[in-house]
Symmetry: C2
Subunit: 410 residues, 2 copies
Amino acid sequence: MPKISIRSKDIKPSPIRKLASYAAAAEKRGTKVYYLNIGQPDILTPEVAMKKVAKANIPILTYLPSKGKLSYRKKLVEYYSKHDIQLDTDDILVSTGASEGIFLAFLSCLDKGDEIIVPEPFYANYHGFAVMAGAKIKPITTTIKDNFALPKISHFEKLINKNTKAILLCNPNNPTGCMYSKKDLEAIGKLVKKYDLFLIVDEVYREFCYGDIPFHSVLQIKGLKKHAILIDSISKRFSACGARIGCVATRNKEVHASMLKYAQLRLSAPYMGQVLAEAALDLPGKYLKGVRTKYERRRAVLIERLEDMPNVKSYIPQGAFYNFVELPIDDSDLFCQWLLEEFEYEGQTLMLSPGTGFYATEGLGKKEVRIAYVLNIVDLNLAMDCLEIALEEYPGRTTKNKGKKHSKKS
Amino acid sequence: MPKISIRSKDIKPSPIRKLASYAAAAEKRGTKVYYLNIGQPDILTPEVAMKKVAKANIPILTYLPSKGKLSYRKKLVEYYSKHDIQLDTDDILVSTGASEGIFLAFLSCLDKGDEIIVPEPFYANYHGFAVMAGAKIKPITTTIKDNFALPKISHFEKLINKNTKAILLCNPNNPTGCMYSKKDLEAIGKLVKKYDLFLIVDEVYREFCYGDIPFHSVLQIKGLKKHAILIDSISKRFSACGARIGCVATRNKEVHASMLKYAQLRLSAPYMGQVLAEAALDLPGKYLKGVRTKYERRRAVLIERLEDMPNVKSYIPQGAFYNFVELPIDDSDLFCQWLLEEFEYEGQTLMLSPGTGFYATEGLGKKEVRIAYVLNIVDLNLAMDCLEIALEEYPGRTTKNKGKKHSKKS
């Protein structure tokens, strides 16, 4: 019998999706499951954009240019220009989701044996894309104690060696919700220039910022023309994950040309998704403002509820729609599975992402979970009722519940 | 300045697309270009399927399961069952086009240094996907003299060594239009069992067979449960290249599980494309019969016209919609560029794919071009008028034109 590749054994199954079978079983038993484990917003895809696709009257669904539909790239140039980023259509490559964007950037920048530094906890799939490119992620740990702030530059510097080729940031961060300031980015910018590294920044949550700090893109940092690569996507922004449309923007012509060669292999990104994306960019500014307000309210509810739970270490995320929380539990994998397999409260339970899947360093994240606040406030509150009770009942809890009684029924 | 990956230098720009800038320049000069260089059919995407997408009323364009929409996979099971292939929904993984399907199969079967045997000329992008997986294509040459028939098994055997992991076939073949018989597949099947190799067969043109030989799928060959991997796509079948929907079917659970891990990294294939694909499978049998008849007529026209051209060695392809033709020219790359840069006949010219791009063996294909008969008969005839005149005028022609006069104006 022929053997599968060794590489395949290095790819871990998705930590976000691995509990799916337990969730399915819970639903089969009749338990209502609140899905806070995945970044799948419950907000409707803008109807006007969906209608544009329906009315596009495309006679032949042809391949589009491998680089992306020109009219869409022009719209993207306008979009970034409004955010103080001046680009040319030839700086942009439309990708099949941000996922492909990351992979294209990795393929173009990294060879077998190369290393890429990534602050952990990080979006788990980065690991898989690194394996596919033959490269290795060198994690640099951030902690809830420090509000997941970027480690000092000297800490980064300690990790840099002759194999280091790039630094990857996610800003605002998935899974922590942390936002990096202009100062942070400038410091990292200096570092990548000093050591001749690429700086890849995943900015798919760039429109979801709630604090007073203005968002700063890597492409706004001066002097990084050859270094900076921005990854973006419409999935979260326009609640269109299934469109599979993202993009990679860089002013480094060589990187762009290299990515294009890989993009030509897969011919083109989806046609209908690009029509949708183009229409979505025409939405008035108040659309995204409305979406942001929605998430901000959810964030407020989530934080309030978490602060109310004894021995839960919560943190106030400034961006994205995740919170990375420390719970009084022995093992986040067991806890998340237990929530689906054994727990229910009034016929309901919730699904969370175990923290362990977001760390490259073995042993970290055992007390942490990622909560995606992608549900409406009513459901979010019901899910938090479940979590509150669950933390009281969970046999593997690590602290006695000496806090106040929960107030879920009020 | 940071350097791009070494891998990127091994990826050749698409031979099918590399002449694009010359074509654009020709159009800018006002010359009408007939595009026979790319497998982009001119047949309309079935309106009823497009309407299904328009009327699907999808409130949120969510991620779909990484494996593909269950209802679509059920339809695929029915489709293959009608073609005497019994599968389970869990044997099928919906991919973002056949391109991704090939790449997922390569990632799952091949490691760095592994070899995969592919009859040449072959679809050029196989090379790129092999580079991305770190593997090497070992070409086995087929020739127009032998009607591009599969080489003898003993020839294959000579290429097999300890690094050989798989054989890849494209059936019906792109670029030659050759079809492999049941006997051919059984012989190769025996071989892959003997040496414990995977047998990957790209069957995206499986519905386009024109001869008397019935098409035979690799999944119909007995005893290959662990070896056979089928690649498929709706792009050509339903004239929906831009939907980006393909699939990989295999009964090897380990390969499927491995491919699924990579598929989870990219989250899901496009939502709207899967809705379209599902609707397309509901089309009555006469739809594909009609499409096939159209291509059959075009093939007849193409062959007749080519046979009429002096010193053109044409061959009768039994499947797909390509013909791989030998021309009396010095260099197919120069000729195809000359067609776009310097030639025109009554304000028109045509674009072809140089044969060289389809060979891994250096130096082959210099007299050959791939002609995709994807245009209607009127346009195809006009394009052939151009080719006929062009072959007379081309300064690099290798034979004196001693044949009869062309009849383009009759």
